[in-house]
Structures are given as C-alpha cells and as structure tokens.
C-alpha cells in the first residue's frame, strides 16, 4: 500500500474493494429483510404515489390568499427561525469565547462549557421540543426555544473553532505592550472573527427555517403544523399549495442568505 495509484487496478486492490462492496450489499440486504423493506414494492405499488399526486393536484392556491391563518403561520415560522438564530447565535458566541483556548484561561470553565456544547449538540431536537412543549405549551414559543438550544449547540462548537484559528501574532503584539485580555478580545480577536460569525449566522437562519418547519409538526406551530394538519385531514389540495409555499419560502431564504453572506465576505465590512 505504498503507492495507492498503482494499487487501484491491481488484483489485490480489486479484491479488497470487491469485498467491501459485497459486505455493504449483504448488510443492506440483511437490514432490508429485518425491517420488512421490500424494494420491489416501489415498482409494484408505485400507483399509490401517482394516485396521491392526482388527488393533490391542482394545488388549492386560492387558499393561500384567502385564509389569513396561512399568512400568520408563515410569519410564525420566519419569526421562530429569526429569534432562534439571533438568541441562539448570541449565546453561541458568548459560549464560544468561554470555550476557546486563546480567550479563556481557566481550564475547568473551558471543559465545562465544551461538555455542555457537545451534550447540546447530540440531544435529539425531537426530545427538546417535547420538553419545551410540555413546559410552555404548544405554539411557536416552544419551537423558538428549541431552536435557540439547537443553534447554540451547532454554532457554539463552530465559533470556538473559528476563534481558536485566529492569527495569534497580533494578539501577542498587543499583549506585549500591556493590553488586558478584554482589550485583546475587543481589538484583535473580535475584528478577525466578526465577518465569519455574521456569515455563519446568515447560514444558521437558512438552516433554522427548515428546522422550524419540521418542529411545527411536533407542536411548534407555523407552516409545518398547517401542512401536517392538512395531510392528516386529507385536504390534499391545500397540502400541496402549502408545500409549494414552503419551497418558495425555503428557496427565498436560501437565496437571501447566500446573497448577504457573499456580499459580507467579499466586501469584508463589519471589520
């Protein structure tokens, strides 16, 4: 295995790759048998999908304009994502400074914050929303709170890495002329990380719009809940209209987030 490029077509390399793919294939076959997943069902029962599609189209687009609860639901989803990003992102920044080696001298604090962040990152959002729904009741507020937690976990970790990857030379330079830690953070680290923090928060907003839609189904309110209701009540024409609205919402937020991010990173404002 010294020279991988020669190994590609050698019999030994070929045999090994064949074994790996065979193992994966067997694993997939075994797993399918265990779950009762039958791939041929996709072909034999495909008419259910076309039937459903036929009963869904045409989408009831009138409903979007005439039912004012829809407008409110969209607003709820967007607000949930916005506040989740803003508050969660704010907490993530503070925690990141507390967890980064070059800004937090105390090892116990650093470890504690890191432990919190990694636990927060792996707890399933499903569980978080269930707990918040039982604590503050159904509705967008519960959705917003769980978005705050998930944003904090994901982006806290990322922000810590960004802080630790800043150039240490300017910090050393102003330490050496007697700057305090707070001054180093304010005049060296903050200017270096601000553009990428902001850019990541735009990305977080884009991500949170999707999550907010999913959370709606479990009691977070907003457009996700409306879709779930429409599907459950078999109002398929309404459901398709709402799904189209969701796609427009997501694509719109993605484009907006991309635009703001690229403008920010190219111009390098906020420095």
């Amino acid at each position: 295995m010294k020279n991988p490029t020669i190994d590609v077509l050698s019999p030994a390399g070929y045999r090994r790759r064949a074994t790996i793919f065979l193992v994966i294939a067997l694993l997939v076959a075994g797993a399918s048998a265990f779950m009762g997943f039958d791939p041929t069902m996709l072909f034999t029962e495909f008419h259910y999908v076309t039937d459903l599609f036929n009963s869904m189209s045409p989408p009831n687009l009138n409903m979007i304009w005439h039912d004012e609860t829809i407008g409110m639901a969209v607003l709820e989803t967007v607000s949930m994502a916005f506040l989740g990003t803003l508050i969660g992102g704010g907490f993530a920044m503070v925690l990141a400074f507390l967890a980064a080696e070059n800004t937090m001298p105390s090892l116990p604090v650093r470890l504690l914050v890191r432990l919190f962040l990694s636990i927060d990152r792996v707890i399933p959002p499903l569980f978080i929303i269930l707990v918040f729904v039982s604590a503050v009741g159904l509705g967008p507020f519960a959705g917003m709170l769980s978005l705050v937690l998930s944003t904090m976990g994901t982006f806290g970790q990322l922000f810590r890495e960004i802080i630790e990857n800043t150039d240490p030379a300017p910090a050393d330079a102003i330490y050496s002329v007697g700057a305090t830690r707070a001054q180093v953070i304010r005049y060296v680290i903050l200017p270096q990380v601000a553009p990428s923090f902001t850019a990541n928060l735009f990305y977080a907003f884009d991500l949170n719009i999707r999550v907010a839609i999913s959370l709606g189904i479990f009691g977070g309110g907003g457009i996700g809940f409306q879709i779930f209701q429409a599907m459950r009540l078999l109002h398929y024409h309404d459901a398709l209209a709402l799904i189209l609205l969701t796609v427009v919402l997501i694509v719109g937020s993605e484009k907006l987030s991309d635009l703001l991010r690229s403008r920010l990173l190219n111009r390098g404002s906020l420095k």
Binding site: F34, P124, F141
Partner: protein
C-alpha cells in the same frame, strides 16, 4: 528635526460604531416584532426554563428494564438510515452524472441542477408525510424519504466532485479506445469513489439524526418509541429511549469519523 506629534483621532460614537450599532438597532426592532408573533414573553421564558429544568430532573430516571425493548427500534432506526443512505447514494450518482458539465450537455445539466436544488429545498419530513400518505406507516416510507432526501445534497456534492476531475485523465482513457460507458466507469466513477464514500458516511450520520425525527411521524424505530412514551407520559421509558438515541448518535458520529479518516489515509484508493 521637527517634532512628530501623534494626535489621537477622535470620532463621534455614532461614526465609530455606527456600522455596528445601526444594524443592531434594526435587528432589535425586528426581534421585538418576531417575539410578538411567537407569543414570547420574558416572564414565560424564565418560568418555562425553570419549569422544564424541574420537569427534566423529575423525569430523567430511566427505566432500566425497558432497555431490551429498545433494541429492536434502535436497530430499525440504524437500518432505515443505512438502507436509505445506500439507495440514496446510488440514485445521487445517476443524478450527479446528469448534472456534471463534463459529461452531460448544458441543457440537461441545468435541468438536473434545478431539480436537485428543488429537492434540497424540501424538508425530509414533508417528503415523509407525503410518502406515509401514499404507502402507509412503516419503515418503507422512512427509507424512501431518507433516500430521496439525500439525493439533493449528495447529487450536488458528487456532481461538483466530477466537475473537478482532471479532464486529461478522462481523455487518456477515451484515447486508448474505451467506450462511453467504460470512460464513465473507469475515468469518472473510479477516481471519485473515495469522495462518494465519504459524502455517504457524512449523510449516514445525518440520517441517524433524521431517522429519530422521521420515526416519530411514522417511519418507526427509536424516534417513535421516544415520541410515544413521552406523549403517553411514560417518562421512565422516554428517558431510556433518549439514552439509547444518544448512544446511537454518538456511535454513528464515531464510526463515520473513523471511516472517513481511513479513507483520507488512502484505504479505499
């Protein structure tokens, strides 16, 4: 030698921090509006945090006997993620070939990229709701939702990897008389297998997290167990399901990282 005097530049507060302060002011106004829409109130917030903490301490006593019941749902979740990812990867490869500029004609590339973008915009959970309505509850809908859901992301990543291939190596294979199929097999797919595997592993890790969600809506598995026991107020069981879920997420992350490191070390090449 004339004296050099350094005059500190004094800017007004607004001019110095205006670029930061003005957006912040705008954001806080927006946040107020959003908070009103969400029905967020600070008293309710702190109340809610305190309540959920008390609630968590109260419920987080796992029922150890329920662990054996969790084995099958946990396996189902892992298998949904595994089969969904593998099927999704195979499909994405086809879409990626159609979306790569060095293989497909421009109109086909544009059309496929548009479709992939549209798919990425659809949350998996909505695909699942649709499939559950068509095929009924169960892992079948879950596997398909994960497979379809991964096409948008994997298809784009693989297509980008194909476009980054060195055209010389493709031309070299074509020059020695390979047919079009052979060029694609040995010139295009062969060199990007390591990247495909590493994208698929990343997606598998994500699929485990997703399958928890999807399970609760009707795909079955550990997510359904967690959701059902929680809504039936069987908190001991819910805590057990939560612990099993955490183990699953940790393990999948570890396995995926381990294998990806191996691939970087040239194990698959």
């Amino acid at each position: 030698m004339n004296e050099i005097s350094i005059k500190p530049v004094r800017l007004s507060l607004l001019r110095r921090y205006g670029r930061v302060l003005l957006p912040l002011a705008g954001l806080s106004i927006l946040a107020q509006g959003a908070a009103w829409v969400c029905g967020a109130r600070w008293d309710l917030f702190f109340h809610g945090i305190a309540d959920s903490m008390r609630f968590l301490v109260h419920i987080l006593i796992p029922e150890w006997d329920a662990f054996t019941d969790m084995l099958q749902p946990a396996l189902t979740s892992v298998f949904i993620a595994l089969v969904g990812t593998v099927i999704g990867t195979v499909f994405s490869l086809v879409f990626a070939l159609l979306a790569a500029s060095n293989i497909a004609p421009a109109w086909l590339r544009q059309a496929t990229r548009f479709l992939l973008g549209l798919e990425r915009a659809l949350p998996e959970i909505i695909i699942l709701l649709f499939l559950v309505a068509a095929f009924g509850l169960g892992p079948f809908a879950g596997v398909l939702a994960l497979a379809i859901g991964s096409i948008g992301m994997l298809g784009k990543l693989i297509a980008d990897a194909i476009e980054e291939l060195d055209p010389v190596s493709i031309d070299a294979i074509a020059a020695i008389g390979a047919s079009r199929v052979q060029v694609i097999l040995f010139g295009v797919i062969q060199p990007i297998i390591p990247s495909i595997v590493s994208f698929a592993l990343f997606r598998f890790e994500y699929g485990i997290r997703l399958s928890v969600y999807l399970g609760a809506v009707g795909a079955g598995g550990i997510g359904l167990e967690l959701y059902r026991s929680f809504t039936m107020l069987d908190y001991g069981r819910a805590a057990t399901a939560l612990i099993v879920t955490l183990i699953l997420v940790f393990l999948s992350e570890w396995v995926s990282n381990f294998l990806r490191k191996k691939i970087k070390g040239g194990r698959f090449q």
